[in-house]
């Protein structure tokens, strides 16, 4: 017997290729994952987000205000979706996360400009995600001054002298020091929960099928709903422990501020975890083996990480990617937890992400129950 035989090797290779082809899901993953990563990384991710929604609070619509707004919009960073004269309305918009910036131009702005009396504008940025605000803020002072100078007819050559004229006051709200952990740690709670909850429950039924215990289970008088609840409820307990651990660590180790209501947060986390275990259970009604369940979990996990706004700014993604991002519970969870923990949002301000999470719970439960096979057919 020789130490190497091409025939033996080719027999082994042939067997591996046949098995690889038989396992459709694995095969699809091998093609799908690289393609997905390429598209997502290549097109969707942008660390210098532009075209960010902003609100303008301008009691008077004078020519200087318009010039500044136009100039800000021309930078490509700002998109003034809301123009209001009410500071309270703008406050609600930024707290809800509907806008990333609020630009306030005081009512005596034009008179001060004309008098050369140190005109001020206030820009409040939602700095929960420091990356979102930084680019937009850095271009701010210069652009606004130039616009003002141009509009007031002064010589551009006199720019340097006039630079001091306009004072742009920047407030980085919710995370004034721009500490990345404040943004990442609450998000990590979502990511950790998603990883463990979905993966654990995705094995729930496949394990029974693989071990041959499914046949016995189905032959006994347990209904689909009972089996589903029996499988997912224990993981709610596991999730509760994880939540306590991560929130405790967020406070103790990272000093993440917690300004909102703990109860509101816990309700949100509960709905999120429920949606995750139901999703996992749905996967387990589809996957035939535990290996496939793992792969499907991963297939779901990767884009949700990239598109939810956890790793990269959500607003930096193109429209289609944002739409895609809406289909992941994590996206809505991140909005909810950041709003509650860092901004102190109340229920009315987080009702949209909460409602989205409830929709996921119902949709996954329905899907799992209809997918569940009461027979071995």
């Amino acid at each position: 017997m020789s130490w190497f035989s091409l025939r033996r090797l080719s027999a082994l290779l042939r067997k591996e290729v046949i098995q690889m082809r038989r396992d459709r899901i694995t095969f699809a993953m091998m093609i799908g994952v690289p393609l997905m990563q390429l598209i997502l990384f290549g097109f969707a991710i942008n660390n210098d987000p532009k075209d960010l929604p902003a609100a303008l609070v301008a009691p008077t619509q004078d020519r200087y205000s318009r010039a500044i707004v136009t100039a800000l919009e021309l930078t490509g960073y700002y998109r003034f979706d809301h123009i209001t004269s009410s500071a309270a309305e703008a406050e609600a918009l930024i707290e809800r996360g509907a806008v990333s910036f609020v630009v306030t131009i005081p009512s005596d702005f034009d008179r001060r400009v004309d008098r050369g009396d140190n005109p001020q504008i206030l820009i409040e940025a939602d700095a929960t995600d420091p990356a979102v605000a930084s680019g937009a803020i850095s271009t701010l002072g210069q652009v606004a001054s130039e616009a003002l100078l141009h509009e007031s007819g002064q010589d551009v050559m006199a720019e340097d002298a006039a630079r001091g004229q306009l004072e742009v006051v920047v407030h980085r709200r919710y995370n004034p020091e721009g500490i990345t952990q404040y943004n990442i740690v609450p998000g990590l709670l979502g990511v950790i929960l998603q990883m463990t909850m979905v993966m654990m429950t995705s094995m729930a039924l496949t394990r029974e099928v693989e071990r041959g215990t499914m046949e016995n289970l189905l032959a006994m008088p347990a209904t689909g709903l009972e089996i589903m609840l029996g499988k997912i409820l224990p993981y709610l307990g596991v999730g509760a422990v994880q939540v306590a651990l991560v929130l405790g660590a967020a406070k103790a180790l990272f000093g993440v501020p917690f300004v909102g209501s703990l109860w509101l947060l816990l309700v949100g986390v509960f709905i999120f975890v429920l949606s995750l275990v139901l999703l996992g259970y749905t996967i387990s009604t589809v996957a035939r083996t535990q290996m496939q369940a793992m792969q499907l979990t991963f297939f779901f996990f990767l884009p949700s990480l990239l598109l939810s706004g956890f790793m990269f700014p959500y607003r930096g993604m193109p429209g289609w990617a944002q739409v895609l991002g809406e289909f992941f519970p994590l996206t809505h969870f991140l909005r909810m937890i950041r709003a509650v923990m860092l901004k102190g949002a109340d229920l009315t301000n987080v009702s949209a992400p909460m409602a989205a999470l409830v929709v996921f719970v119902l949709a996954y439960a329905l899907l799992a129950l209809t997918r569940f096979r009461r027979t071995l057919d």
């Binding site: 215990t213 016995n216 027979t375």
Partner: protein
């Protein structure tokens, strides 16, 4: 005992990927009897049993199990029957006690602790109740599985090759238990391909390639085959020579060596006798008439249906 059979199915068809695994089978199982369900591997026994306990839906045909309609009253059927799967399907990572308590809970038996205690007592496993089920030997696993599916005292017990891979002593004990249950009024349908087990049944159904080939008591089935059997005995080389000679001779349908003897089976008694006499004289082996066994009958049925297939 009610006259109504425990199981009655008519024209049952089950296809997998277009191939009929169960092909228009009609049969019934009488109450309080042990009915054997026989047939070679892949003949459709497991599929039939799964259809009857609601784990598979039939493509055609209808049936009643304990008076409940198949495919409609599945939930009620599940509550009234006990089904022991071919493969050990209790949880290997639970203890014996935990497994029994789980099953008792699913059937809403109360009080769970006492019910489990009684079952453990009956099994003689009280001292090992905290052992993981996965660490039991094959024979014990099978006894535990049986105990778990009769805990709720079902009227009908379906057993799918329950004694595969179990030693003869454990098999004998197992059958004693089944007879004990039947004596208590339970109806039992048991699939097997061991002939000695078939002979322990009150009634047998023989299925081959998805079709019901024979049914009746063991004696009836053997008689139905209409076979005559002779025995040839002698030294091994002579018996082997006789077999070679007999194969293909008119009147000889099957030959089957059993150690130093040879069973020769045929439908045409006269032609068979002539052939065997000739072979015995030629090879110097001793010839005698013997009773046709159930196995001879089944081998005949099997080959018959293979012939029909081709």
């Amino acid at each position: 005992m009610s006259a109504e059979p425990a199981i009655r199915v008519e024209g049952l068809v089950k296809r997998f990927g277009g191939r009929a695994v169960v092909d228009h089978v009609s049969m019934s199982v009488n109450r309080g009897q042990i009915t054997g369900f026989l047939g070679p591997n892949g003949s459709g026994k497991t599929t039939m049993i799964r259809v009857m306990c609601g784990l598979l839906t039939a493509d055609e045909g209808s049936g009643e199990v304990l008076g409940y309609r198949l495919g409609r009253d599945t939930r009620r059927i599940k509550r009234e029957i006990g089904y022991m799967t071919q493969r050990f399907s209790l949880y290997e990572d639970l203890t014996i006690r935990e497994n029994l308590a789980f099953v008792a809970g699913l059937y809403a038996l109360r009080p769970v602790q006492r019910v489990v205690d009684e079952v453990l007592e009956g099994l003689g496993l009280t001292s090992r109740q905290h052992q993981l089920a996965g660490t039991l030997s094959g024979g014990w696993k099978q006894r535990l599985a049986l105990a778990s599916c009769v805990m709720h005292k079902p009227q009908l017990l379906l057993l799918d090759e329950p004694t595969a891979g179990v030693d003869p002593k454990a098999r004998r004990d197992f059958w004693e238990e089944i007879h004990h249950l039947a004596a208590g009024g339970m109806t039992v349908l048991v699939s097997t391909h061991y002939m000695d087990e078939a002979e322990r049944c009150h009634f047998v159904n023989y299925i081959s390639y998805g079709r019901l080939v024979a049914s009746g008591t063991v004696e009836e089935v053997i008689a139905h085959a209409g076979l005559t059997t002779f025995l040839l005995e002698g030294p091994m080389d002579k018996v082997t020579a006789a077999e070679r000679m007999l194969r293909g001779m008119t009147g000889v349908d099957e030959t089957a060596p059993f150690g130093t003897s040879l069973h020769v089976v045929g439908r045409d008694a006269e032609a068979l006798k002539a052939a065997v006499q000739h072979a015995a004289a030629e090879t110097g082996t001793r010839m005698s008439a013997t009773e046709t066994s159930l196995e001879d009958a089944f081998i005949r049925f099997m080959n018959q249906s293979t012939d029909n297939m081709s």
